[in-house]
Symmetry: C2
Subunit: 134 residues, 2 copies
DNA sequence: CTCTGTGCAAAGCGTTTGCAAACGA
DNA sequence: TCGTTTGCAAACGCTTTGCACAGAG
């Protein structure tokens, strides 16, 4: 039993070949759109359906195996759930980069001053990656 | 000529009654979904079309008169463009609150350490508002 | 007067659903 | 074997488009 099978199990998901491939692809590429995932999986499964992608993405989100990243001005991408981090999004090549960033102190400050109970923070920086700056 | 007419002019938008009402509604309520906007405008214009809402929202975004706020797990809302700020979103009542927050120092830090040229930052805190905590 | 915006209906497109067959445990 | 998942096709819902008329400047 490989790592992805275990990972799926932990999140109460049966390990089908399609799901294993989704997990593998997200692990390898970090962030993928529905469309990109579909294209990737088509290389493995000649007759895979978009419906299968959607059904799996949805159940994987429900089970906290993956997360949706909503990006300004572009379509969403999906990533394996991992510890909280921020995203850098290149407006030119659409690359998405994770950066470690502890927002807890800031959240705490705001919670205290606004009486709003903060559970999660979502931070996206948009701009140009090193390559696209040239 | 009222304020909203001027505001629209500044963004190179003709001041039609429908647009004036959109501007007024966003100014008054802060953040509105397409659907909410449609319901509000229907009170003023008995035969307004959803297509008109969409066309105006789109051109207003293009002309930087308004901005879309993409919220995790819910539909987008729209707001008048103003200086950079973060959002508090209540997961229970879906209320959206603006908070002033200067992310420039943080952006600068990240830009320098990551060689990524940051243009804009987008920060959303999700949780429970004061009322919904009870 | 001219060009843009509006409302309506139809088209478009991404996403979801229902179902029979295939499959995982 | 039993319950879940897959793939297909159809349905769905949100958004966009084309067009004729109305309205802003």
């Amino acid at each position: 039993m490989n790592t992805y099978t275990e990972l799926l199990r932990i999140h109460h998901l049966k390990a089908t070949p399609q799901r294993l491939e989704i997990a593998y692809a997200l692990d390898k590429y970090g962030h993928l759109s529905i469309e990109a995932l579909y294209e990737l999986l088509r290389n493995k499964f000649n007759s895979i359906s978009l419906a299968t992608i959607y059904k799996n993405i949805n159940i994987m989100i429900e089970n906290a195996f993956i997360q949706e990243v909503k990006i300004p001005h572009t379509k969403s991408v999906y990533e394996l759930t991992k510890e909280t981090h921020a995203h850098l999004v290149c407006e030119q090549c659409n690359q998405v980069i994770d950066i470690q960033l502890d927002l807890n102190p800031l959240s705490k400050n705001i919670s205290e001053s606004s009486h709003f109970q903060i559970k999660t923070a979502n931070l996206i920086f948009s701009g140009l990656c090193q390559v696209c700056q040239k």
